[in-house]
């Protein structure tokens, strides 16, 4: 989240799209209801299904799975066409005025620079035009034909209500009724927020859907303001913390970069990773990258690294291939992966294309599963359709503590790290993750010590200095993450003190300030809220530096005064900024630098070279779609996605698989773990299939009967919930039905049921590789 849970109460419009917070985030969702009931805010849901969130929303718009960019692009067109944007904000706080060099273009579904042979873009032509001073040229009138503002206007001119309606399957009138609400916040006295989740990320255009939303929010002047922002709702209690600490491939903790093979020295890595300012008036905070990186190396390798050995840079792997979920299992599928250690996830149920995943798992020599529960993954050899005699994989199961059985921190969606206490003791001889991982580390270290081995330095030099090095406490780890001034041995008060000369350490610069000499900031429980804005600076710790709303400098105008004095983020008093912890120097005058201190532009990017599949978002169809791409069917799907061997050829034909399908969770369950919780199983016992009322009538399916659903990968079978909450859509002139499937079932636990991911395709987003769980094709019949 750019903002945080409680801040949603400050909104005038709450767009819920790609999320179902009443279902998946019921506690946080109360703040949307608070905005509705206390401020008169309007809640709008845009979703393939009428959900439990829709049940309490003011308006619901049903769209086809995978039509999000078309819908959001339609909002952008309306904003630009009808001048509904927040003009002063856009001029001041975005790169609307930046001029893009000649040669950039977009034609028939492709941006300039596409190489069909590699399915990749050469992004040179997407760059800005530079002046003689080396900085980007700007046109503050926003009229230059190559300025970003005009590029946007031209690009989205095609997204008329009629076109959007044809793609999404709604009527142009329904689109406009919702668009009128969504586009109403481009003024100083109104603010709109967006709540989204994996309904956006889990597409082959996932990153670009979120970009489209960000562009819309920037045009409306909603980023950085209380009650605004673009808010990712995370799916587990600590998934934000896990992300911050690099659970995803391609980053190191704190969103630092994994070294690349061509970066043969520390200086080469730092040069590639440290941006140069593009305008004279930018803070360009990522310019501090070397301090964050070197301090992280010091946290990991301690005194064994220094300037003389590039701070241990050579200890790090520099992978040529990505190790995203899909690539990892593709390697296993091809027999190139020997074993896997799995902590905290149920791989078999969590990934797409279970039949393929089962083949991949069979190819492993061994699997180690570390979890509180005996997972489906741990017994994949007993999965339906698998003959145990044909599986040679050795599976080792280690029962580990559940989070309720240990202390530690959770970082919630709103970036609040909150310390929790242990509630109960673990049963029997169950060990903590820290014990298990420490033992693993020590036993590998000891093996190297005893037997030697090629390039043992990274292993032997890895620091494990804890009071009990066989099981460090979570407080010790939190201090290490916070970081130290190594010259004094004192905990750092914030990342402002980090150095790139080896005199400071920090496991994750974003969490610097979370555990200081004053104590564990994450354990704070002060409820004071003097501004009434819901910042609660004395409660827990919000990264970075306890800031509650990111980019909050943009909540104020050029003079540093809040756009809306009744909802101030920060305010310039003439000497300093007050309010939230400023996203700006506390005493830096408002005209000194751009509001967006993390960008080399100093402003927010409506147009960017950072993504792989285009500088501005374009609608592409899901890889399996019930409709051609009516904008450019020659380039129907995202041209920059990676195709794993054999996947493209096996995609479904829409003649044989006529129905759009999407998968999701229900509130009674939490992913797969609650299959072990009897009282929750009682609430939602069985796997089911949501079938639209009209389609059920067509197929002779009665409510409560069993149905079979199959895709080009596999099939599921369960009870039909026949519902009017999913209406027929008219997509490009043809009737389109949508089927809904929940994800929570497997063959372990109290209740068993079909695995939803039997159906989903093995393909992912062009930037993150996040699988396209949310839109694919199926067929359906009575079982």
């Amino acid at each position: 989240m750019t903002n945080h849970w409680k801040d949603i109460k400050n909104a005038d419009v709450v767009l819920v799209m790609g999320a179902n917070p009443a279902e998946n985030h019921p506690c946080g969702f109360k703040w949307a209801l608070e905005a509705r009931d206390e401020r008169g805010a309007q809640i709008v849901t845009v979703d393939p299904r009428y959900t439990r969130t829709s049940a309490v929303a003011d308006r619901h718009l049903q769209i086809r799975p995978g039509s999000d960019i078309a819908m959001l692009g339609g909002f952008i067109r309306k904003i630009l066409d009808e001048d509904l944007h927040h003009e002063e904000y856009v001029r001041l706080h975005t790169n609307a005025s930046f001029i893009v060099q000649e040669g950039f273009g977009f034609d028939n579904g492709l941006f300039s620079g596409f190489d069909a042979a590699t399915s990749a873009y050469d992004k040179t032509s997407w760059d800005y035009e530079r002046g003689s001073d080396g900085y980007v040229r700007r046109d503050m009138t926003l009229e230059h034909p190559r300025c970003v503002f005009q590029i946007l206007r031209n690009h989205y001119a095609r997204y008329t209500p009629e076109t959007v309606a044809q793609i999404a399957g709604c009527s142009a009138e329904d689109f406009s009724r919702v668009a009128d609400i969504i586009c109403s916040t481009g003024t100083a006295d109104r603010v709109g927020t967006i709540m989204y989740a994996v309904g956006w990320t889990m597409h082959t255009v996932g990153s670009q859907i979120i970009r489209t939303a960000a562009i819309m929010q920037l045009l409306l002047g909603n980023i950085g303001r209380p009650g605004g922002g673009i808010n990712a709702l995370r799916g587990h209690a600590n998934v934000q913390g896990a992300t911050d600490h690099a659970i995803v491939a391609g980053i190191l903790p704190g969103y630092l970069r994994v070294p690349a093979p061509h970066q043969e020295s520390l200086s080469a890595h730092l040069a590639d990773s440290t941006p140069e300012p593009l305008v004279p008036d930018t803070v360009n905070y990522w310019g501090n990258y070397p301090k964050f990186f070197v301090s992280q190396m010091k946290a990991w390798f301690g005194d064994t690294v220094g300037p003389e050995n590039d701070f241990g840079y050579h200890y790090l792997a520099k992978p040529a291939d990505d190790s995203t979920w899909l690539s990892m299992w593709d390697q296993a599928f091809k027999g190139r992966l020997k074993g896997i250690i799995a902590l905290g996830f149920n791989a078999l149920l969590a990934g797409p294309d279970v039949p393929r995943l089962l083949e991949a798992m069979k190819n492993l020599e061994w699997q180690v599963i570390i979890d509180p529960f005996m997972l489906d993954s741990a017994e994949f050899w007993r999965a339906p359709g698998v003959n145990p005699e044909e599986v040679a994989t050795e599976v080792l199961y280690m029962p580990a503590t559940h989070w309720i059985e240990r202390a530690g921190s959770f970082t919630n969606s709103g970036r609040w790290a909150q310390w929790k206490e242990k509630a109960i003791d673990p049963p029997g001889d169950v060990r903590s993750d820290t014990w298990i991982l420490s033992e693993l580390a020590w036993r590998v270290k000891e093996l190297y010590q005893e037997e030697g081995g090629a390039y043992h330095e990274p292993i032997l030099n890895l620091q494990w200095n804890y009071l009990n090095p066989r099981e460090p406490t979570l407080e010790e780890l939190a201090r290490e993450i916070n970081g130290y001034d190594l010259t004094t041995g004192r905990l750092l008060p914030s990342f402002a003190g980090l150095r790139d000369d080896g005199t400071t350490s920090s496991g994750n610069w974003l969490y610097s300030g979370s555990f200081t000499e004053e104590g564990n900031m994450m354990a704070r429980r002060g409820t004071a809220d003097p501004s009434g804005m819901g910042f609660h600076h004395d409660w827990g710790f919000s990264w970075p530096v306890n800031r509650r709303v990111l980019y909050n400098r943009a909540s104020a105008d050029g003079d540093g005064q809040p756009w809306d004095s009744t909802r101030p983020g920060i305010r310039w008093t003439g000497r300093e900024w007050i309010g939230d912890v400023p996203d700006y120097g506390r005493t830096t005058p408002p005209d000194q630098a751009g509001a967006f201190i993390m960008t080399e532009e100093g402003v927010a990017r409506l147009f960017t070279t950072y993504l792989n599949d285009g500088p501005i978002p374009e609608h592409y169809e899901p890889v399996e779609s019930p409709s051609p791409n009516i904008l450019h069917d020659d380039v129907a799907v995202n041209p920059a996605i990676h195709w794993y061997d054999g996947v493209r050829e096996a995609l479904a034909d829409r003649a044989d698989y006529p129905y759009a399908c999407t998968i999701y969770r229900v509130v009674e369950r939490e992913h797969f773990v609650t299959s072990n919780v009897a009282r929750l199983v009682e609430l939602m016992p069985d796997f089911f299939v949501e079938v639209p009322h009209g389609l059920a009538a067509e197929k002779g399916i009665e409510n409560g009967e069993r149905v079979r659903v199959w895709s080009a990968r596999g099939e599921v079978e369960g009870v039909a919930i026949v519902t009017k909450r999913i209406k027929p859509l008219t997509v490009n002139g043809e009737t389109c039905w949508t089927i809904g499937i929940p994800v929570h079932w497997g063959f372990k636990g109290i209740t068993h049921g079909s695995m939803a991911n039997n159906l989903t395709p093995f393909v992912g987003d062009a930037n993150t590789s996040c699988p396209e769980f949310k839109a694919f094709l199926v067929n359906l019949e009575r079982a």
């Binding site: 019921p26 969130t53 049940a55 309490v56 009897a678 939602m684 069985d686 409560g704």
Partner: protein
């Protein structure tokens, strides 16, 4: 929520018994639970909280083509979220309603109960069943205008929500209120809850729900579980009776007698009369003489589902 006082559980009415003398009653406040249907997301957290607190058994459920967990209330399920799809002016609405005992001010169950002390109404408004004194006759089920109490074939007693009377007694809110993540359920004095409900109804009207209303039906003297209903003109779709009364038909007349001073005699007569009318004298006699073991399946539960 402000800290509530503990409730003394002074008794207002007891089944098949004279009302306690006013001299031993106290003047504590009446409490009420207010359910704002427009804030309810149907998460069923209240269902779990109810079962946990009251140590109710887990029932083997099956999906029957609904998001609803159980088909119906039962002796082990005192609270049930019901899900109904309707159309209002062409727009779909998914009605999600928490179904449980209404705790009527004029409790039809208590009036119908022939077993002394099996049903008690406290001055705070809670209507509580006492299984120790329940004879399993199921007249309370007939007497309830909301079809809430449920007979257990296992224990031969009737059960329903007791508003977590043991929590309320010590100043806590009922478990369902405590657990509700969206503050759709609030708890307080009846006066405060009615005032809050009126604000909520006004807000709903501002949002375009012109038929929004407070459901606190006068026919049962008002209830201690009340609803803010967005579509007040569609009560039947929420499974809420339009005009429930504590004492339909003959019961009403006898209840009237009670008000006139016939007291418990009238009620006792009523119980016997009703029983006689419905099942004849043998059953009534048998139940009266052997309260511990009525015949399984002899009750009228099937007619009341």
């Amino acid at each position: 929520m402000p800290q509530l006082p503990g409730s003394s559980l002074a008794v207002k009415r007891i089944s098949a018994s004279p009302d306690p003398a006013p001299s031993i009653r106290t003047a504590g406040p009446e409490f009420a639970k207010l359910i704002d249907i427009s804030r309810c997301i149907g998460c069923k957290g209240c269902e779990v909280a109810c079962k946990e607190w009251n140590e109710l058994k887990i029932e083997p459920t099956r999906n029957f083509g609904s998001f609803q967990s159980h088909q119906d209330l039962s002796a082990d399920t005192w609270l049930l979220m019901r899900f109904t799809e309707i159309e209002v002016d062409g727009d779909l609405q998914w009605l999600i309603k928490k179904d449980a005992c209404m705790h009527c001010e004029e409790p039809g169950c208590l009036y119908a109960c022939p077993a002394p002390g099996a049903i008690v109404q406290y001055e705070n408004g809670i209507v509580d069943f006492n299984p120790d004194k329940c004879i399993g006759c199921q007249l309370c089920i007939s007497g309830c205008p909301f079809d809430v109490p449920r007979f257990s074939a296992e224990t031969h007693k009737v059960y329903k929500c007791n508003m977590c009377v043991d929590r309320v007694e010590v100043g806590l809110e009922p478990a369902c209120v405590k657990t509700c993540p969206t503050n759709a359920i609030t708890w307080g004095t009846k006066d405060d809850m009615v005032a809050l409900a009126e604000q909520k109804v006004d807000r709903l009207k501002d949002r375009g729900f012109e038929n929004a209303t407070l459901y606190d039906p006068a026919g049962v003297g008002g209830t201690h579980m009340m609803y803010v209903v967005p579509h007040g003109d569609r009560l039947v779709d929420y499974d809420l009776p339009e005009d429930p009364t504590a004492a339909p038909g003959a019961l009403a007349a006898l209840a009237g007698l009670k008000q006139l001073g016939m007291g418990v005699m009238g009620l006792g007569l009523l119980g016997t009369a009703l029983h006689y009318l419905k099942y004849g004298p043998e059953v009534a006699d048998e139940e009266a003489s052997d309260p511990a073991s009525p015949e399984p399946g002899s009750g009228p539960d099937a007619e009341n589902t």
